[in-house]
């Protein structure tokens, strides 16, 4: 489905990666790990159109994603969350799904079961971190993605929270969605993903 072909990217003379190749198949759940500065976030940014690669091709099915604007890529079904939780401080959670009310009511069961319900009337600053992360995933899910990138979704979680979160992903993310989890710690990937990749500086993508 999503394909990177010999993609290279550098910032101000520093090579983030070169000749990066991989394929993501439909319904595949992949964990992506690697140290600081190895370009994990850059990879997401390229896939979702926020950054342009210096060379190479990025294809979604038969469509080339190069040159498409982020919103166009998002409409093709490639969705993401953000490392720093992007929720508006001045809106209560209920107003932050950004989908028609009908869709919220249709998915009420999911929202209820994920433990967010009690927090729907609160501002993000009044909610614990796991709720905010779940909220972001839910928001992406309500926008019906086909590929979902999660950028460090479990950073700062305790052991129980992590398990709860993995359970949440397994239960509510439809298996038709391809999921890419980018993480420092491999724990969540081990719980959730079917395979994992490692990204290392100046080395091609390694499948582990």
């Amino acid at each position: 489905m999503l394909e990177f072909k010999s993609v290279g990217k550098s910032f101000g003379g520093i090579n983030i990666f070169e000749n990066l190749n991989f394929q993501l198949k439909k319904g595949e759940w992949v964990g992506l790990t690697g140290g600081n500065g190895t370009g994990k976030s850059t990879l997401i940014n390229i896939a979702t159109g926020f950054q342009l690669p210096d060379e190479g091709k990025v294809n979604l099915g038969n469509v080339s994603l190069l040159g498409l604007k982020p919103w166009q890529i998002a409409r093709l079904g490639v969705k993401r969350n953000f490392q720093s939780v992007r929720l508006s401080e001045s809106l209560i959670l209920r107003d932050q799904f950004f989908v028609p009310d009908k869709k919220i009511f249709d998915n009420l069961e999911m929202i209820q079961a994920s433990g967010i319900k009690g927090f729907l009337n609160r501002f993000p600053s009044e909610c614990p971190l796991p709720i905010l992360r779940k909220m972001e995933v839910l928001r992406a899910l309500l926008h019906s993605p086909s590929i979902l990138f999660l950028d460090e979704p479990s950073a700062g979680f305790s052991q129980e929270e992590l398990h709860e979160f993995s359970q949440f992903l397994i239960t509510y993310v439809p298996s038709s969605i391809s999921l890419v989890i980018v993480e420092h710690r491999t724990e969540l990937m081990q719980l959730v993903c079917t395979k994992s990749w490692g990204l290392f500086l100046n080395e091609p993508l390694r499948i582990m």
């Binding site: 976030s41 940014n45 926020f50 950054q51 953000f82 490392q83």
Partner: protein
Amino acid sequence: MEFLQTCIDGLLFGSAYSLLALSFSLLFGVMKRINLAFGSTLLLSAVFSLWIDSLFSIGIFGIFFLMIASSALINIYVEKLCFYPHSGKYGATVSMISSFAIWMQLDEMSSFLLPDRTASFPSFLPDSFFLKDLFIRIDQLFLFLIAVFMTSIFFYVLYKTNYGLLLRGVSFDGELAKKLGVNSGKISSFAFAFSGIFGAIAAFLILSTESQVTPFFGFWCTLKGLVAMMLGGIGSLPGAIIGGLFLGLVESNVINYLGAEYRDICTYLILLFILVVKPGGIMGSALLRDERAASERI
């Protein structure tokens, strides 16, 4: 020959615009903020100095130094009230509006000190001479020379002194400078005071060539400084100089060939044109919407 004459007039007066634009650029470069009250601080300092002069007759040099001192102080007042409290993403708009409110306040104070709506400003060297066929006013030539001198001082302070270096550091990445232990509050006060001093010298030169001060002077300074800065390119100091000279050239030529009433229209049309075609101005490079979104850390 007529064209040459207008160009020389334009360049001579444009140097004043350059000084104003430099003061603006300094603040925008460092603080990423627009100080709408800038012109009225200059007006107030001029009017205040004239008022003191009328009480104690401190003479032209007294006026000059008093203007510099009071302008620096008023600028620090503006900084503490409008810019220091506002940070963050929306800080730019809020502090701009806040400085607008202070603009009103300072203008009102000025008209309080200037009940007759206009006052004569002492002029120096009101002579003129002919260079072959070219008519040159000595005070305008003096204005130009001082502008060149001031600009070199400006660059010296910014590139060769400790504070200037810290200022450039803060302007590149204020957050980082703070983390490295640079007292950014002090630096921003310094930037404001510095731009106030700089602007006061420019205002003094302009007012004494015009030999009068009116309540519109503050607004005029703000607008001309902003426009010259935008023409040259935000954040580029050579751009501010070129923008000012260019503005002077355009204005004098338009006045000469089209008539005075077309002066400002042409200025704004050119500004609009440059913003649309080359938003970074003549020298600078602008971060446009999409690029800005891309460069923001995601």
